[in-house]
Point group: C2
């Protein structure tokens, strides 16, 4: 696999507006075009990028959620991926059979590739969305094997272990990180700590695209991040409050070597499955 191509990742950190999908999709398109101009092969956007985050009623959720891939948000992103010849992962509010999910779409130049539905719902999301029911799929693409997870999913090491077991090489994280209890606002975000640990312990690249701004009283913390498979940042953390595009180039063909820590140790192979399954 030594001849596999490098992949340039972009994380779009921006501020969606609740209830304004046309505005949000226009911003997303502009940011994706800019990322493309900067060489991006794979662009990651935040959680619920088309709808905004802080829903107040089920009626509002129903009004904003759209089918994936058939709805207007997914269709617009797929058309853009085809026009620009790149891959896109975006958080979107999904409607499916009268149920609503906090989802992520993966699409490429040839159309929609897959959907992920958030497994671990945070706080009042539980009032409006159903928990994800598609597991943690990994999709084989020309760029490499791509997995997705959303925000609070990253608090659970099993999320990353399941993606690693399925062969993920690049994990895309649309997110709307909020301050954690007892978080010192001046310290590094725990969200950044958790994803550094996950990249290091699983030997894959992670691209986290967060939002910024305050919505209906809920602040978001920015600090989007693109991580090497060693766990160290290749780009970011981004600003805590301003829109920003992070760009970094990764090499899926290098992962086999990166996971071999020395003559004796392989970060995935050393698991004591005889002890903990």
């Amino acid at each position: 696999m030594a001849d596999r191509a490098d992949v340039t990742l972009a994380c779009i950190q921006f501020e969606p507006i609740i209830g304004e999908p046309d505005h949000n999709l226009a911003r997303m398109e502009a940011h994706i075009r800019e990322a493309h101009a900067r060489g991006a092969d794979l662009v990651v956007l935040p959680e619920l990028a088309d709808s905004g985050y802080v829903f107040e009623t089920m009626e509002e959720t129903a009004r904003l959620a759209r089918p994936i891939p058939g709805g207007a948000s997914a269709a617009r992103l797929c058309a853009l991926a085809a026009e620009l010849g790149l891959h896109i992962v975006s958080g979107l509010a999904e409607e499916a059979g009268g149920d609503f999910y906090n989802s992520a779409l993966l699409c490429g130049p040839d159309g929609p590739i897959g959907t992920y539905r958030k497994l671990h719902l945070w706080n009042r999301e539980n009032l409006f969305f159903k928990p994800g029911n598609l597991g943690l799929p990994v999709f084989d693409t020309p760029l490499g094997r791509i997995g997705m997870a959303i925000c609070y999913d990253g608090w659970f090491p099993e999320t990353f272990r399941a993606l690693a077991a399925a062969g993920a090489e690049i994990v895309c994280i649309p997110t709307n990180w909020v301050p954690m209890p007892e978080q010192d606002p001046e310290a590094e975000a725990m969200a950044n700590v958790l994803h550094k640990a996950a990249a290091h312990s699983n030997g894959f690249y992670i691209a986290c695209a967060d939002r910024v701004g305050t919505e209906r009283g809920q602040p978001f913390i920015g600090q989007s991040l693109i991580l090497d498979a060693t766990g160290w940042p290749l780009a970011g953390p981004a600003s805590r409050s301003a829109p920003e595009i992070l760009i970094a180039t990764v090499t899926p063909g290098a992962l086999r070597a990166k996971r071999q820590l020395n003559e004796f140790n392989n970060i995935l192979g050393d698991r004591r499955t005889d002890v903990y399954g």
Copy 2:
């Protein structure tokens, strides 16, 4: 459990000398007495604190490894725990039935309580030690439920998940952390990142006691750390190169509340066991 007592933890960061157990045990005793004078209820010492780390031959390993709890190192620590009325966790080189393990002893005022044998061996440890075969036990003590893990064990999230499932409240980590590949020596140690993530995602206290110094060409990185169940440091990181005693007081009775992040979310209860077992 609201009336459960606070527990004062101490991590002893010092420099063991390879092949000099009498010297090392004398230093350990002096440091334990100092920690006791500073109020410690539970003292954690580094990995292989009695023997030193960089073994060169099996003969050297055989000469330095001792039975637990019957050998001279364990007996001395147990006597000290009884005299001072405290609990001790220390990494020790263990001999058992002609085999050798990189182990940790837990003892208290009433004698030995339990042994842990390192599950994940690092680098040339594989030449001298057998992999641990006692699982990841958690011991019920008057201070709380105590688990142990050693150094590279902390690179595997399953280590901490298994300890959490067994009800661990305080996890003691004797360690001899070495620089990781591609680690920026000026940046925070990945070892610190991994344990912050583990404390946060499992909602328990973690006390890491590292060594310092360079032994037979192998540098160690210090940066011992005592972590709150939120993942944030209560004490440390300690110096990268100097001996140091870290002290912090924790409250096992507060863990139930700390694990409940908001009305909807519990950091252990939110695991999607239906998806990833």
